[in-house]
């Protein structure tokens, strides 16, 4: 479980960075959200996978899933949703104002 999680996180970050380095702004946004998903997975992993029992205190063997990282990730996903939505609207405006969505269309601010 842990190994597959690590591999998934690595892949997500790798693909995300690759997309960040493209010259297309839509790909930039997709890359950003992939990286933030990787961060969410790290947060899930930080709780460890100690058991499959739900975190309800009942008599019985102790190891149960840690509920806190899941609550945190839920919050982080919601925030990521809001941020992606904002970025997509921003990209839409940029492409309307500049007539394109490539990095080379954005060269106004320098120095």
């Amino acid at each position: 479980m842990t190994l597959s999680l690590i591999l998934t996180i690595g892949t997500l970050v790798g693909v995300g960075v690759f997309l960040l380095l493209r010259r297309n702004l839509l790909k930039l946004i997709i890359g950003l959200s992939l990286i933030s998903h990787a961060a969410n997975l790290i947060l899930v992993g930080s709780g460890g996978f100690l058991g499959r029992r739900p975190p309800i205190i009942l008599p019985g063997p102790l190891p149960y899933a840690d509920p806190l990282p899941q609550a945190l990730v839920l919050t982080a996903i919601v925030i990521g949703f809001g941020v992606s939505a904002f970025l997509l609207v921003l990209l839409y405006w940029i492409s309307r104002v500049r007539g394109g969505a490539a990095v080379s269309d954005l060269m106004e601010l320098r120095g």
Binding site: V78, F81, G82, A85, L88, V89, Y92, R96, A101
Partner: protein, 142 residues
């Protein structure tokens, strides 16, 4: 005019809409003790409407939808904020929630948490934001 969609898509979209809306409502009501909640219910509602956008086109959907999704957002936020105030005033902490047991005529004993008001607020908020987004960038292809 936009391109005509296949009859398969229009039929499925029309059939599936009430179920999606009901599912969204179920998620909202289930939220306290089972998987679900205000956010995911709101997202489900917006997804259901986004499907209509995709299949029937912006103009037709907008004609049927009531305006004022921004008002929905404000109402939702106000509800969510308001649900936290009693706990603050009673000195037990902002957003403190209580569980109330009601006995209703048909359903019998019902457990109801005041946290539902918060969930309802989040539901309205997410639905409002989602619909505003659809209206903002659903318009045309750049």
């Amino acid at each position: 005019m936009r391109r005509p969609t296949t009859i398969l898509a229009t039929t499925v979209a029309r059939l599936i809409l009430p179920f999606l809306l009901l599912f969204s409502l179920d998620l909202l009501l289930a939220g306290h003790n089972r998987p679900g909640g205000g956010f995911i219910a709101g997202v489900m509602l917006v997804a259901a409407i986004a499907l209509q956008y995709v299949v029937f086109g912006v103009a037709q959907v907008r004609r049927r939808l009531p305006r004022g999704s921004l008002g929905l957002t404000a109402t939702g936020l106000a509800l969510a904020l308001g649900s936290g105030i009693p706990g603050l005033l009673r000195g037990e902490g902002f957003l403190k929630s209580w569980v109330i047991h009601w006995s209703l005529p048909l359903l019998g004993e019902v457990e109801w948490a005041t946290a539902f008001i918060f969930d309802l607020g989040i539901f309205l908020l997410v639905a409002g934001v989602g619909l505003t987004l659809l209206a903002l960038i659903g318009e045309d292809r750049p």
